[in-house]
Subunit: 397 residues, 2 copies
């Protein structure tokens, strides 16, 4: 039984803030600064170059990858960490296309995170003008899958609306047509009770700084199904993905299994912070997490709809089709989010008119939701957002 009061106590949450943005950047685990400080002083400081072996830095991407593997339902030994999500997307995409030499369509949807689409565009431009990136509405993906589709590249949970694809059925549909599927789990890992193995996902990628709380710029992860990894020829064939990096051999030879998806030197300081965050996850039952997320989300939807009639729900009402965020549309959504932030309710805005709120049971409870909704009702009904300073957009929202 996950004790969510206990997990909440393990995070630093600023006084007076209700943080409904853990789907963008998770909060600081209280232990993380000390873990990082010890890594810096006792490992980097005292071991220096010896840290690669003695402190296990070299093995860390795959060791921590095993902890992430459990959270996404992957087989142990088939997840590794490093780089950024955009890099992991292009690694998976390049590998998937190479496994499908006779097919030229990359299928995605317009709910995919733009960086995934940009990475696909850049890769196509570089690789071969014959590739076609086909972007359809999320609801049309299944129907568009056909014998010309090499790879289906989808983010499971839409970053704007929270609408969730059915991983199992879409993967099955793709496989029936001979297509491979890359699942971007940026808004899924640490939010849902995932099972990429049971779903027969071909590739999965994601980041660790959102629901997993690894810290700003925490490394990304990549999973390759055991049935594929032996055939994967990495485009980004860096030395730490080599079978024997320290032989300094003249030719690249892919490393064993998932190790070949490593590229360069791992970000050891970021890894220490992530390791602290993953400690909290060790005791979390994901089915209970998912149920808590649904309960809190429904409480939030009910209270907002009851008290803020000007907000329109854009997330699916049916929890089975919704990830762990709730979004509302409002024409002055940007200003409204700024006014809420000023009153301690932190959500975020996504163009053109979406107010987005992450539901993260690890550190948000029913009292937080009640309190946040009371503040929202005040801000919305009393038009507290209607001030000029709330309407000037900053670079990052």
């Amino acid at each position: 039984m996950t004790d969510f009061a206990a997990t909440k106590a393990q995070f630093h949450l600023p006084d007076g803030m209700i943080y409904l943005d853990g789907n963008s950047l998770g909060p600081l685990p209280k232990t993380a600064p000390a873990v990082v400080d010890a890594m810096m002083k006792q490992q980097w400081g005292d071991m220096l170059i010896g840290g690669w072996n003695k402190a296990g830095w070299m093995a860390q991407p795959t060791a921590l990858g095993d902890q992430v593997a459990r959270l996404i339902g992957a087989e142990a030994g088939h997840v590794t960490l490093g780089d950024t999500l955009s890099i992991k997307v292009v690694q998976a995409l390049a590998a998937g296309l190479r496994l499908q030499p006779d097919r030229k369509v990359i299928l995605t949807d317009n709910g995919n995170f733009p960086s995934d689409i940009y990475m696909a565009q850049g890769l196509i431009e570089a690789l071969d003008q014959d590739y076609e990136l086909c972007i359809v509405d999320p609801a049309e993906v299944a129907a568009r899958i056909g014998p010309d589709v090499a790879v289906v590249l989808l983010t499971q949970v839409d970053y704007r609306t929270g609408a969730m694809h059915n991983m199992q059925s879409l993967t099955q549909t793709a496989h029936q047509s001979g297509a491979l599927v890359i699942w971007d789990l940026a808004h899924s890992a640490g939010a849902l009770d995932l099972d990429v193995s049971a779903c027969n996902a071909d590739f999965a990628v994601g980041c660790t700084y959102k629901y997993l709380n690894g810290g700003p710029g925490a490394p990304a992860f990549i999973y390759v199904a055991p049935r594929h990894i032996g055939q994967v020829e990495p485009m980004l064939s860096g030395w730490l993905g080599h079978a024997a990096p320290f032989d300094f051999a003249p030719d690249y030879r892919p490393g064993n299994g998932i190790e070949r998806m490593r590229v360069g030197t791992p970000p050891v300081i970021q890894m220490a912070s992530l390791a602290a965050a993953l400690e909290i996850w060790k005791d979390v039952d994901l089915a209970q997490l998912r149920q808590a997320s649904i309960d809190l989300s429904e409480q939030f939807i009910d209270l907002v709809e009851e008290n803020c009639p000007m907000l329109r729900l854009v997330s699916p009402r049916n929890a089975a089709h919704r990830g762990s965020q709730v979004s509302f549309s409002f024409s002055e959504g940007y200003a409204a989010i700024q006014a809420l932030i000023d009153r301690g309710v932190v959500g975020d805005f996504r163009a053109p008119n979406i107010m987005r709120f992450g539901i993260t049971p690890l550190f948000i409870d029913a009292d937080d939701i009640t309190q946040a909704c009371a503040i929202m009702a005040d801000v919305m009904n009393n038009r507290l957002w209607d001030l000029p300073e709330y309407k000037v957009k900053s670079a990052v929202t």
Copy 2:
């Protein structure tokens, strides 16, 4: 006038250790743990998502890039940080090839770091089978440059021998044949008095965890000459290299100038550590650093040759052709390095028989060199390396 006693005092150097491996991983700046701790608690902890704007995280890759720019003689505003060196190599290479559509040869040498060669191999496999990777001896590079060469990809300082290419003359030779040059400055930045701008380098890349002391896994850097950047179409077209990332537009549009070489979310915790290291560099005169490096290197060579006749210098004897490391060959080099490490003299081993020592005036002085050489004489002349436990290789050396 750089006060090297003052810079030395700014590093944590373990008692009884003479660290001649700053060319592999620089030591811990004393301020770095506190800078990182403050970033974690006051920025991540208290600002949470607001840190991207309020703490300047989003602007940091290019702001810190300007500090690196000074150290490599680049124009301000033309260096950005992120990812790993292997990723930056492939970004530069893909961009360079695209600028040269009618040429199919990538020229490198067998003194290049293997990961650079591996990344080129992986890119060629993915891109187009017509590309040819031509690998010659370092001394043959200039002669091989011709009208078929698209890009010359070189590490300026050979990671094994410390032999140094002449950046100015090779770049000029390449340009005379219409080839572009990518300089990997992994073993140059923070070691030499560089001027990539005066040399007309087309691209330069490097890492910040060696001589720059940014910490294990610190981000890499990339420079693109101002005359090229407007024409560069990034293959790794991630959202943070987009002209307007937070518009979430459906199509990639390259960012302004060097910003387009950014890919994904920057590693903010690593950046804080690097920022602490770069503070030390602000007062360093690079010409004085280079002279100090030459003086210490010559002292080291003289003492080793005088006292350890079994070691053969494999670095160039002429300082003008040598970077900031000194390497000797010895058939039992691996064991000898282990014996030295056990006695507090930390160098490293590179296959097949190279004992490698980094000369880093920021924290190594003439007394250190004298003392290290006395220990080396004892270890070598008394065969203290001749123990079975020194002969078992570990994974990382």
